[in-house]
Symmetry: C2
Subunit: 367 residues, 2 copies
């Protein structure tokens, strides 16, 4: 990484940390006999996807048709679109189903009825479950609705029921590894019941996709497929939750220092909401932050500055709270390395990566 | 606008509302004999800029070198880069200064010293003031520092002092028109003092750039140039502050409905943080929201649904709180029209507009 060439906010990627994160998750999946179908919405990059392939990963999860199309064109032919069927995108789904083995999510029969009329290629359907995150999906106890959907799928000539999917996003409210394990323990009996009731179907799987759970839990019960996304990069949110340490975070935003206010203990950086998005988080010292600072190294970064944090951001400005030692050694024109609160959103906002070996990696272009 | 063609989250632009917003601000500037130098970071669009030109506007403000370059290439040749000089971008500043009359901001002599060594084209410099927003700039009372900067500028053969600039962003904390006026009244005496002390310089101006103030204030005292940005579109934040009404907001995000949960009074939409960014706001009913809903019309939208709001967003999902009437009339596959909390960030996230007359307008591409 040639620091001199960095002129404006740049999302740096440590390939080694990223590939370690991928390898660790692949090993864990192997150990627990889980199929690993990573969510590509975090990295949106054909290169990162390729590193996954070298770990034996052949299936993926995406969050939009556009993203499915991008990866289908790059040789990924087993794709789960983990977003409720959007009936306005029927034609796009039909086109894509000709290029790859697609699965879609559903929790509402009307969406499928409408889709069935304009599709003539086989399509896998997973029923989405709400295991407590209250975003979308059927609750596991809504057996009448599940049975109604299954009856409909059974009669269909294009749809094939492939199991249940859930993103238990309430693990993001956890603040310890024990919290995460408790959340999993609470919904596990419900998943056992579903497997007993519906698990005889060929190709049936129960898929769970959240980075906190997949990183920390060791008891997967009837779950046989996992689809975490964020784990490739991690971020300060995952550190807070207990999924990883700062040294596992594989991306930082390199931000030029453009101002210094010693009285207020502040450094002004080029780096704002158009780079980080606007996710904030309370750290363990109860400071609301938009990012935490890494120590810079000759090549890359390490650790965390305990008492420094990105305290506010506007469109392109960022204000860093800095204690005396950091103020003393930092000049206008220096770079600060900021761990994002939410790496998925920072990556999406930036649209490309610069590796510490000075290679630019592109991402799925915005339409 | 052909609703049927909208498949996924789309940022709609009502050209008529937008041009009315531009016209109103141009008339106000004319009435108060203020030069209008709008901030283009909100729209980042050559088309919107062109509508400004037809109102007689010939100067602009931008927030980055990349944005300055984009507009310079489109015939804008009087550009203020309202961001502290980034010493890593010297070469880019020098290149750009050959193409357009540039002004940059400064509040630290070291940045200018470093810039002076590698520039040989005339460059305007405004001293940035902190009038209470505590982001960047010198306080008006730091006369020693101001004098030191001026002495440096006077000796320089490339720099030309052109006045003072401030973005009094603390007007964003206002919650009434009276609040905004009080904030202006508080800093006005300080600006009078600066004009008395330094205003004899040729080409001197005092520039203020915030949409709340420029929309509401009628007493501009020694201010002779304004550079608001957000006013072209407005958003729910500006409604809360008192800068505009909902019917002035010129952009909405059209979001397909992909789920419905009548028990929880929720509609699930395709539309999340990658579309809106993640700015939230407490509305007047104390509901934290990521957007408010407009009523749809045959062409465009109007008003606001008082009791509906975007209550949470993740990367691509949005959850709308909906009362019974909205739930009753809304089906999966319908579009909802969501006013963004912060239109600048939503526009930046989306990268293009669809007008209600079905024309796609492009924006400055991300690098």
């Amino acid at each position: 990484m040639n620091n001199v060439d960095i002129k404006s906010p740049t999302l740096l990627l440590d390939v080694s940390k990223c590939r370690n994160n991928i390898r660790r998750m692949a090993e864990k999946a192997h150990k627990h006999q889980l199929m690993l179908r990573p969510h590509f919405k975090t990295h949106q990059s054909a290169d990162v996807a390729q590193w996954m392939r070298t770990e034996g990963i052949q299936s993926c999860t995406v969050s939009s048709i556009a993203m499915a199309r991008y990866f289908a064109k790059r040789g990924w032919d087993d794709i789960l679109i983990a977003f409720p069927v959007n009936v306005r995108e029927h034609a796009a789904i039909q086109n894509l189903a000709r290029e790859a083995r697609l699965q879609v999510l559903c929790c509402d029969r009307r969406s499928l009825e409408s889709l069935e009329h304009c599709i003539n290629t086989a399509l896998g359907v997973k029923i989405e479950l709400d295991l407590g995150s209250r975003r979308s999906g059927l609750r596991p106890t809504q057996r009448n609705k599940i049975d109604e959907l299954l009856a409909f799928l059974e009669k269909s000539e294009v749809f094939e029921f492939t199991g249940f999917y859930s993103h238990p996003g309430h693990t993001y409210l956890a603040r310890s590894r024990e919290d995460i394990r408790s959340i999993y323990a609470r919904f596990m009996p419900q998943l056992h019941n579903l497997r007993t009731a519906y698990g005889r179907q060929v190709g049936f799987s129960i898929t769970i996709g959240d980075t906190p759970g997949c990183s920390v839990v060791e008891e997967f019960g009837p779950i046989n497929e996992i689809s975490p996304g964020n784990f490739v990069f991690f971020d300060t949110m995952q550190v807070n939750i207990g999924s990883c340490t700062y040294d596992d975070i594989a991306v930082v935003m390199a931000c030029p220092v453009v101002g210094k206010n010693t009285d207020r203990k502040e450094l002004l950086i080029h780096g704002g909401a158009v780079n980080f998005s606007k996710e904030s988080l309370q750290d363990t010292d109860r400071n609301m932050h938009f990012g935490k600072l890494a120590h810079g190294a000759v090549s890359g970064w390490y650790g965390v500055m305990r008492r420094a944090f990105l305290k506010s951001i506007s469109q392109e400005h960022g204000l860093v709270h800095a204690e005396d030692d950091l103020l003393k050694k930092t000049d206008i024109g220096d770079l600060l390395y900021v761990y994002p609160v939410h790496s998925c959103l920072a990556a999406d906002a930036m649209g490309s990566y610069l590796t510490v070996d000075n290679v630019t990696l592109s991402m799925q272009p915005k339409l």
